[in-house]
């Protein structure tokens, strides 16, 4: 199942040579992280430690267990903390 993975421009500059969008085959976030790790070794750890993720707009802590529906937009953003 294909999902579109997107990064912010700043994150892309730092970790993916400026490329912001990727198409990956994955059924859950574990698969997404693994695919990104294959493309950019070390990126998987960074995604796990430094980002939150929006799957079709729904915010989650970046983990393994969240399902990624077919055609989903997966957007990694800097982690947010509240007061």
């Amino acid at each position: 199942m294909t999902a579109t993975v997107t990064f912010t421009s700043g994150f892309a500059r730092k970790y993916t040579n400026g490329v912001r969008e990727f198409e990956v085959e994955a059924a859950n976030l574990r698969g997404v992280i693994r695919e990104m790790e294959k493309l950019f070794p070390g990126l998987g750890h960074t995604l796990e430690e430094e980002t939150n993720v929006a799957i079709n707009g729904e915010l989650h802590e970046t983990g393994y267990f969240q399902a990624v529906p077919p055609g989903a937009e997966v957007f990694f953003i800097p982690r947010i903390e509240g007061g």
């Binding site: 912010t8 707009g57 915010l59 989650h60 802590e61 957007f75 982690r79 947010i80 509240g82 007061g83």
Partner: protein, 763 residues
């Protein structure tokens, strides 16, 4: 009395959710018997005192503790030399900027004192007065350095540097020089230049805001008891005892499992008690002395040594068409981080435009250190500051095109599918419903008409949080139920957890007791912050309750000697699923619990979640003010606050959250500020001179609870604690402008500043 309205289109009715039972923590609090951080006294306990820097910026040449250590009654003296060094690296998220090299230096200074009040050393003695005297005997040799307080001054080349080797992150220029700028952030969508070119009206303005403190009533306090085998216990008032355990273990260099932290009752936090100041020092003093140690801050310590939220310097620019469509927006946010990196500037960048559908937008943020206490989270950290600038300029746009400011927001509000500046598209409804509810408030049609009176409107957005939470449910022999969670209760969570458990289980609310459990008796739970507890911990409670129901059905099947699939749970009773199962009288939870031993032992269940898909918070306010032209004093005549609350589990608490956020926003808007003198010393470290609003300053705040449930949560809950503090500053500034034709661009809008701006004809 609260003039509260609940706007809901829900057809679902609940027995307990949405009701207003008496709060379970009420009696101990009003009778003075609740145990706060400073109330615990252990046998053999001694008293700690921290020596703090009298200078804004100074090299620490030498610390001589010999005289203090020799004073009779003194049991321990510690400095940073007693703590292990930490690596200088940013671990984890950029926003939190957890760099333990910084954290340990904030807890006890090493090479430099970086702000007045910076902790330098600590003592513990058999009485508080001996500890105080001993602290005064510690001799510190300082070399005073030039200091910098203001964020714009701190960014200039040649400013005194707090860290001579700190290279800014995120700058476009190659090989940047060391600076007080910790990092630069930029978020962009669309084409800014093209957007502004299509605007009929473009307005830009600069703004500044003062650092403000959360103003919690209870100063930080803890008791630590370390044993000779390295294990220890801490009793602490905080927003997250698991967080205190993890931070303390890392600072001390011990294992997380060696520490057990028990949450005390908490007298307010608002974000300021998500970080640790005292716990590692108390543990260190206890380890050295072999005795339990109590450490607590004075009010002056709180102001000087704990983190307020950032002050700022900002610029915002908005372009709008004549018919009220916002076509472009741009902003620069420069935030004081305090003495160490880590302001909430990213949140300002991400929240300021999120309520709107704006195709072309940019937000640039700078995180800047200066000789102030390290900033800490404060209710929707960062978002209210950014909203003040952007909502002020949007108000100017509405006035420039002659459009009602609420209509302008309605015309531009974001809906599901609209992208945010961070990239993800909005996935939840509730913004438009909230704006329409505010517009429908009877008072909106009647703006103030008296001399020097005016109305202001503003809106606010906050992400809200989810994340990790745990809950345990135990069924007692009489069928009463205990619900234990790891979320310190700062906003009524014990009541809301008990309500959700009672609703799910189908039992009377008064048969459910909710407690906040220590780190040794419930699973990991993230801090009470980010408006996450009712949502995330509530999901854990519902999951644990469902597990208990499943077990109770199994027990009933055993009692009836039928197949477990033949039992269903309805309204608090186990019942046969159908006539074919048999003719059995429904069993109550008490009857099933009475047979617990016979059916397999205690009935108990735990659940842990990492909750996601939380909906954001959205608030829309209007305020009517009157400005005294002789003094510049601003009186709040009327305040109406609408907020999308998902579903109000306990409406009284939700109303209280909204009113509390508004009151804090009024203080931020009109009076509160850290005032520094020419030496970089804080001149108003107490509530007499740091002016928080009191009851006589404000009218009753009308609340409108707009219920647009989050479908992901079993009862539709959304976080409600933070979005409410985002609009007040801009709403009040906009109202002052309506009343006086004077645009206030600095917070606080205190009487002297309002008067000066009016006299200057500031537009």
């Amino acid at each position: 009395m609260n003039d509260s309205t609940i706007v809901t289109d829900s057809v679902k009715r609940f027995k307990w959710v949405g009701t207003r039972p008496i709060r379970p923590d009420g009696v101990p609090k009003v009778t003075g018997r609740a145990m706060y951080g400073a109330d615990l006294k252990l046998p053999g306990m001694i008293y700690g005192k921290i020596l703090r820097s009298p200078h804004a910026h100074a090299l620490i040449k030498k610390i001589d503790t010999s005289k203090a250590a020799a004073l009779p009654g003194v049991k321990a003296v510690v400095t940073a030399a007693d703590l292990p060094e930490q690596k200088n690296e940013f671990i984890g998220p950029e926003r939190v900027a957890v760099n333990f090299w910084h954290v340990t230096r904030n807890i006890l200074a090493r090479e430099k004192a970086l702000y007045e009040g910076h902790a330098i050393a600590a003592v513990a003695a058999t009485s508080a007065s001996i500890a105080e005297e001993a602290a005064s005997l510690i001799e510190v040799t300082y070399e005073v350095l030039p200091h910098v307080i203001d964020v714009d001054e701190a960014m200039k080349p040649g400013a005194p540097l707090l860290f001579e080797d700190m290279i800014p992150r995120g700058l476009a220029e190659p090989n940047p020089k060391p600076s007080n700028i910790s990092k630069r952030l930029e978020f962009v969508m669309g084409d800014i230049e093209k957007g502004f070119a299509s605007a009929d009206v473009v307005i830009e303005k600069e703004f500044t805001t003062a650092a403000v403190h959360q103003g919690y009533i209870e100063p930080h306090a803890c008791v630590a008891k370390m044993e000779a085998d390295g294990q220890g216990e801490i009793w602490s008032s905080s927003q997250g005892h698991f967080q205190m355990r993890a931070l303390t273990a890392k600072i001390l260099g011990c294992k997380i499992g060696d520490l057990r932290v028990t949450p005390a009752e908490i007298g307010g936090g608002f974000g300021g008690k998500t970080v640790t100041y005292l716990e590692p020092v108390a543990a260190l003093l206890s380890k050295k002395s072999g005795l339990p140690v109590r450490l607590q801050m004075t009010r002056e310590d709180v102001f000087k040594g704990s983190g307020p939220t950032s002050g700022s310097s900002m610029w915002a620019k908005v372009g709008v068409t004549k018919d009220g469509k916002i076509v472009a927006a741009d902003a620069i946010f420069k935030f004081q981080a305090g003495a160490f990196p880590g302001s909430p500037v990213m949140n300002a960048c991400l929240c300021a435009y999120s309520p709107y559908d704006i195709a072309n937008a940019r937000a640039v943020g700078y995180d800047v250190v200066s000789n102030r206490p390290k900033s800490a989270a404060y209710r929707a950290p960062g978002s209210p500051i950014g909203h003040y600038a952007v909502e002020s300029v949007i108000d100017m746009c509405a006035k420039a095109i002659g459009m009602d400011p609420l209509e302008l927001r309605i015309k531009n509000v974001a809906s599901i599918g609209v992208p945010t500046i961070a990239g993800p598209k909005h996935a939840h409804a509730g913004f438009m419903e909230t704006l329409q509810a505010l517009k429908a408030h009877p008072a909106y049609a009647n703006p103030p008409t008296g001399p020097n009176q005016g109305r202001g409107v503003a809106i606010g957005y906050w992400f809200n949080g989810g994340g990790e939470s745990s809950a345990t449910m135990q069924v007692n022999a009489d069928g009463t139920v205990l619900v234990a969670t790891g979320s310190p209760d700062i906003g009524g969570s014990r009541a809301s957890m008990a309500i959700m458990a009672a609703e799910t289980l189908g039992v009377d609310y008064n048969r459910v007791r909710a407690i906040v459990a220590d780190t040794g008796t419930v699973g990991y739970t993230h801090v009470t912050g980010g408006s996450r507890v009712t949502f995330a911990t509530g999901m854990a409670v519902v999951d644990a309750t469902k597990a208990v129901i499943k077990d109770a059905c199994k027990r009933a099947a055993m009692i009836w000697d039928v197949d477990p699939e033949g039992v269903v749970w309805e309204d608090g009773f186990a019942k046969p699923a159908g006539a074919n199962v048999g003719d059995f009288k429904p069993l109550s939870l008490a009857e099933i619990a009475g047979k617990a031993a016979a059916t397999g032992g205690p009935i108990t269940a735990s659940a842990g979640v990492n909750a996601g898909a939380q909906a954001p918070g959205f608030a829309a306010h209007f305020v009517d003010v009157e400005v005294d032209p002789e003094t510049g004093r601003v009186d709040i005549l009327k305040y109406v606050a609408a907020q999308d609350v998902g579903r109000a589990i306990h409406p009284s608490y939700v109303e209280g959250q909204i009113q509390g956020g508004v009151v804090q926003g009024i203080g931020w808007a009109l009076n509160e500020e850290y005032i520094y003198n020419a030496k970089g010393l804080l001149d108003n470290a107490g509530f007499l001179d740091y002016r928080c609003p009191v009851a006589s300053d404000i009218p009753m705040i009308d609340t409108i609870l707009v219920e647009v449930p989050n479908p992901v949560h079993p009862y539709g809950a959304k976080g409600v604690g933070e979005a409410n503090i985002c609009p007040p500053m801009a709403a009040i500034a906009n109202a002052i402008e309506s009343a006086t034709k004077t645009r206030m661009t600095h917070l606080p809008m205190s009487p002297p500043r309002v008067l000066a701006a009016m006299d200057a004809g500031q537009k």
